[in-house]
Amino acid sequence: MAIINQATKELQVKIVYYGPAMGGKTTNLVKVHENLQTAQEKGKLVSLATSSDRTLFFDFLPIEAVAIKGFKTKFQLYTVPGQVIYNTTRQLVLRGVDGIVFVADSQYEKMQENVESFANLEDNLRTLKMNLGDIPYVLQYNKRDLPTIAPVEYMEFLLNNRDVQVPSFSASASKCDGVFETLNMITRMLLHKFINESGRKSA
């Protein structure tokens, strides 16, 4: 859960990129790291990956947003390993998550994996006594630049068909298209949530 440190005037928030294997979660972080305007503080991108560049534990990128009314907002971006066998690791990374970006692979043949990964996310949150309905999340339909992709409407039907629809973005993470739009939306949703909760507490 987010940390509010009044001594240092900091709000620290954890965002996890979740989704099926080879869907582009790590690429999202790499592109954020490469393309973030230099004026903003960004840390080192750490990848705990296998020799074949598949995420083994997680990728980690700390970034700092411009101060809002004197309050520094630090975002820690994590990815989870997509492969099915690393489920325990995914649970570890989800611990204390504040917001989620679900990165789906737009290729037709990956639809089943997308749906399974989404169900796996819900299962893992339940294990951690959390509920997807309480956590801000957005969907990213990645790899829109590839030839054999499913229509966005179909992906919406498969993945964004719950009681409350969430924002979704078409993206080609390898070209950095849609990457910042996704990140800015989840950060905005998170800050809204904190402000609303803070308002309720003080009411």
């Binding site: 009044q6 230099t38 990457v179 904190f194 909760e197």
Partner: protein, 160 residues
């Protein structure tokens, strides 16, 4: 899910005092208090020598993985993790439900001594966290003063 209380200057001052006491007695190089989710709460000692943001995130993940191993061998909890290096060693110790203490010390220093002094630090930190938890929630910083309109583009992409 239970979470850390809002921390005010008094809390951080108490944490820093406990950490500095530990560094003096144990001759360790640096000490940090971490949230188990990977957030750095405060750090003391040689703070420029290491990248604490990354170190904290990795140490929290390592500790979490160790807890997974503990449950596999029917242990409720491994309370600490020790990594021995050639120049520096690392001790990660549980503080309470939410927090960890991370100590970096020169490899020549005995881990037993660091652990011994760390136990006092842990009880000091845990006590302060309880005090913070018990504080009236109304005293916390009101986030509604943040201007949400400013968040439209928190992160900007470099122009090509």
């Amino acid at each position: 899910m239970a979470t850390l209380p809002q921390l005010i200057e008094e809390d951080i001052r108490q944490f820093d005092s406990a950490l500095n006491d530990l560094l003096t007695k144990s001759e360790a190089t640096s000490a940090l208090i971490m949230d188990k989710g990977g957030f750095l709460i405060t750090q003391c000692g040689e703070v420029r020598r290491f990248d604490f943001t990354t170190l904290g995130a990795l140490a929290a993940a390592m500790y979490a993985a160790t807890q997974g191993i503990a449950s596999l061998v029917n242990e409720v909890n491994f309370s600490s993790v020790y990594q021995q290096g050639e120049n520096f060693s690392l001790l990660v110790h549980n503080v309470d439900e939410h927090c960890l203490l991370v100590v970096i010390f020169r490899a020549q220093i005995s881990v037993g001594a660091v652990k011994f002094y760390a136990l006092n630090t842990i009880s000091d930190v845990a006590r302060q966290l309880q005090a913070a938890q018990a504080r009236t929630p109304g005293e916390g910083f009101d986030l509604s003063v943040l201007n949400i309109a400013d968040t439209a583009d928190l992160f900007r992409k470099k122009q090509a």
